[in-house]
């Protein structure tokens, strides 16, 4: 794009960089190495299956420098869809420039304009106090739920990633 940094939806041409960022994020935040083939399929499928969700990216001078993924969760209580923010990554050289804030503002704006969206949710590592502070500053509140899961694919065995 042409301006300094623009926030935009991702397209198929962005798949390689989203794969690279996702791998970098897993390594950086959880010390895990994602298998190339699976994460590539995972990113590609989301790009080609709009019903599952979407990515947005931040682009600076023709390069993608940050990403954010949204997936959907139906809420019968609210008769609407929650947008889940996941897979947030900002390239190291572009941190502390408010890129997450801009991506969040973009998402919030789109979500609020869409009458089928009932809210925005995300989960965060219990120990990531910096991220928690950012989310609170941007107006999100800690939910009163704990997150449980059974993971069929990525168990605790390192070679499964």
């Amino acid at each position: 794009m042409d301006d300094a940094v623009v926030i935009r939806p991702a397209a198929a041409a962005d798949i390689p960089v989203i794969v690279a960022f996702s791998k970098a994020m897993a390594l950086e935040t959880e010390g895990k190495t994602l298998a190339d083939e699976r994460i590539t399929r995972g990113v590609t499928d989301l790009i080609h299956k709009p019903e599952l969700g979407f990515y947005i990216v931040a682009e600076a001078d023709t390069r993608v420098v940050a990403q954010l993924m949204i997936t959907y969760e139906w809420s019968d209580w609210r008769d609407g869809v929650f947008w889940w923010i996941q897979s947030v990554y900002v390239a190291p050289a572009h941190r502390r420039r408010g890129l997450y804030k801009r991506m969040y503002a973009y998402i919030q704006d789109k979500a609020r304009r869409d009458p089928s969206v009932c809210g925005i949710r995300l989960y965060v590592d219990k120990n990531n106090s910096t991220a928690k502070k950012t989310y609170e500053t941007l107006g999100m509140a800690l939910a009163h739920y704990d997150l449980y899961e059974v993971d069929f694919v990525l168990s605790s065995k390192p070679d499964n990633y």
């Binding site: 926030i7 935009r8 939806p9 397209a11 023709t62």
Partner: protein, 352 residues
Amino acid sequence: MKKKRILLMVLILAGVFAGCVYWPVTVKEMNFKSYAMDTGKVPVIYSDEYNISFYGLEALHPFDSKKYGKVHDYLIERNLLTADQFIEPGAPSREDLLIVHPESYLNALEQSSVVAELAEMGILSYFPSNLTKRKILKPMLYATGGTILAGQLAVRKGWAINLGGGYHHASAHQGGGFCIYADITLSIRYLMKHNPLISKVMIIDLDAHQGNGHERDFLNNDSVFIVDVYNKDIYPGDLEAKKAIDLKVEVPSGIDDIKYIQLLEFHLNEAFELFDPDIIYYNAGTDILEGDPLGRMKLSKIGILMRDEMVFRYAFERQIPIVMLLSGGYQKTNYEVIGNSIANLKKKFNLF
């Protein structure tokens, strides 16, 4: 012997000179000229003749009828192109138009009331026909020449952008919605007639409105594959023409960047799996921009840049020549969006 050499030199020099100063050209000449683009020209096609002015009355129309000139000036202001780098088209002759349009249709255009109706400017019917000819038909004729030229240049250069044209509501027998000459059909027919390498064409029509003109012209035609993404709630809702669409994507009013870009990616992917064209005609109407009173969609300026980039990427990755036409979208700021999009294409694909 020496005389012969001198004569040869003169001929070579004359040839080089002719290659440098061949603009503007008429459509007839286009078939025979060799477009040596090493003269510094780039295949961005424009003529001052495109712009429509009618003693200020054009202000009554919802369209910015001078957006073509504004895009041209904006590209120069931003130092993307110099004035002498644009390529200037000529106007097609009546004979050229007859490739597609019947005599009866061209004759009908002699009446200002017919032009008034097609251009959706009722007031024009009170003016003499020589005036509507000069002020309305002539600009559209030049832009039609631009689209024909764009087809020929794209084959040679891989791409061409006409800063006008895209009259996708006009068919051989019928105009409407500000469209009088069927420039897309004409350009395709011209190319297919004169270039044996072009036998399969894909039209990607991403103007907010259904492209019923070219659709009517290519009904039951397997050589032309039509992808049309349009707002289903607005003009023209032409059921007969819809039968010609090979990949129809009807979107709702108010669709935004995220949903639109996802849909486009999905369907372009599908289109190129189904059809392998020799050239692409991309009708890049900017009336999908938020705020457009006719398009009623909500794409942002960035969304338009992405859309154009995506279509060009699909073409270039497959090494298929692409023609881009401006078509609809006449808000006062559209020229900037179009200019920025051309700047983005230049940067991303090293266009020129």
